[in-house]
């Protein structure tokens, strides 16, 4: 396939019906470090692995609060993520100003998807190079969405995106049937277990390079602090999903 003939811009189709620029944008998402989300009947948990460009640098934040009831985890171009984050925050604020209530989650994801699609249908623009995991709670229930540079969005029970996310997804496939009824603590431990599958051999999870955000029906979005992260990572040693089955 002579890709290079059809991949110059978004307004060129390939003979196989692909838009290569959009596909390349999705590759950028796969290059970002892993972030994952999982939900139960009451809570959503976002976990991400933070990258440190060098010993001297800090760790790159991957999770952003959009509103009390909504947060995102990003994988891909951080600069593009910031643009979408700002857009989502503005929309939530305007909705709150007009209606005094929280922006329905699905609708905001729809708006982001519309915005993303717009960038895939122009000669002068490029798609956003970032995938978002949107966690939110609204009267319709507990939600976890994924958005793509292509403008598609999907709702998930649990999902992982970014580099080496397949390992985390494999963990999810084995255990996601337990998530619905899990407590918040169990959910966090599942999330950390899944991330552990995705780290490199010489790396280890610690409270500096992992980020956990939690959201619940009566719980505004918060990050776990360093001490809490340490405690949970320590609990990983003795955590096994099998024990959860025995309880039920």
């Amino acid at each position: 396939m002579l890709k290079h003939l059809y991949d110059t811009d978004c307004v060129t189709w390939s003979p196989q019906g692909k838009l290569f620029q959009v596909e390349y944008a999705m590759e950028a998402v796969k290059q970002g470090s892993i972030c994952l989300g999982l939900k139960s009947n009451e809570n959503v948990v976002l976990c991400s692995l933070k990258r440190q460009p060098s010993e001297l640098a800090g760790y790159q934040e991957k999770q952003f609060k959009i509103d009390d009831h909504m947060a995102i985890a990003i994988a891909g171009l951080t600069a593009d993520a910031r643009v979408l984050c700002k857009y989502m925050r503005t929309e939530c604020l305007e909705y709150k100003y007009t209606y005094e209530s929280h922006h329905p989650v699905g609708r905001l994801v729809f708006k982001v998807a519309e915005k993303s699609q717009h960038k895939t249908q122009s000669g002068a623009k490029r798609p956003y190079g970032v995938g978002l995991l949107v966690a939110g709670i609204d009267p319709n229930g507990v939600h976890l969405f994924e958005t793509c540079p292509s403008g598609n969005y999907y709702e998930y029970k649990c999902q992982a995106i970014g580099s080496r996310s397949q390992a985390a997804r494999t963990y999810f496939e084995s255990w996601f049937h337990l998530f619905e009824k899990s407590t918040l603590e169990q959910l966090i431990l599942h999330g950390l277990s899944a991330i552990k599958k995705a780290i490199m051999e010489d790396e280890e999870l610690n409270e500096k390079n992992v980020e956990v955000g939690i959201l619940g029906k009566n719980l505004k979005f918060t990050h776990l602090n360093a001490q809490e992260l340490k405690d949970y990572i320590a609990k990983l040693e003795t955590f096994s999903p099998n024990s959860q089955i025995q309880q039920e």
């Binding site: 209606y99 005094e100 329905p104």
Partner: protein
């Protein structure tokens, strides 16, 4: 809402209403909220349109009524219906709650007021959501007030005493209806722009119910009134 006159620059400001609706009275009761209004639209002092429905259902659990300029009322109904239809656009089955409508109307009224071109209305939004009663007033300035009872127009002067004496927030639906009927009796006697045909609508857990118009009982066949005994014919 953007009007052609705003775009072309020939801004007109609503300084006085033309076709007006009378008072609206709304009360909460045990299990819901009830709104009452008469069915008259006046053209100044002329009782021009006597069979007008001024209480409207805007969603499954919300009703809206207002007193003031009737064309503004019709426009607001359209604007509120637009919001409800947005659920269709987004395919997510999320419908605004009564409070969402109330706040939206408050923002809209305030915006128009800031342009010195108000929606010439006292608005009442009533609803029942998540097992809770909701009742709010949005006035011509965009002031938003949630309350257990709302009166607009002349009812604010004549009816508050009746409501205070005969109503409480946990009364039954029938009791609340009687209070409203009594209020409109008094209004028909004292308010020159009132009518004796009223309409009641209430929202409860089952949804909204808008009743058929009914005539309030008033008595005009007093002997003195019929025989005009005290009138003197002046002959010159």
């Amino acid at each position: 809402m953007i009007f052609n006159s705003e775009i072309s620059g020939q801004q007109q400001h609503t300084t006085s209403p033309v076709v007006t609706g009378g008072s609206v009275i709304a009360l909460v009761y045990n299990g819901g909220v009830i709104v009452g209004s008469d069915t008259l639209c006046s053209y100044g002092s002329m009782a021009a349109f006597k069979n007008v429905q001024k209480i409207v259902q805007i969603s499954q659990n919300t009703i809206y009524a207002s007193s003031g300029e009737y064309s503004d009322f019709q426009q607001v109904v359209k604007e509120l219906a637009k919001i409800d239809r947005s659920a269709l656009q987004y395919d997510d089955g999320v419908h605004p709650s009564p409070k969402d409508y109330g706040n939206f109307l408050a923002r809209l009224s305030y915006k128009k007021r800031c342009k010195i071109n108000p929606l010439y209305l006292q608005n009442v939004i009533a609803g029942f959501h998540n097992k809770e009663r909701y009742l709010a007033l949005v006035d011509i300035y965009g002031t938003y007030l949630e309350s257990n009872f709302i009166t607009t127009g002349f009812a604010s002067y004549f009816c508050k005493a009746i409501i205070s004496n005969y109503w409480n927030e946990n009364c039954t639906l029938e009791q609340a209806k009687q209070v409203i009927r009594e209020c409109f009796k008094v209004l028909f006697c004292r308010d020159c722009r009132a009518h004796d045909v009223i309409q009641l609508a209430y929202v409860d857990e089952q949804g909204t119910h808008i009743e058929e118009p009914e005539r309030v009982e008033t008595k005009w066949d007093f002997n003195g009134f019929k025989s005009r005994a005290n009138e003197k014919l002046h002959t010159q």
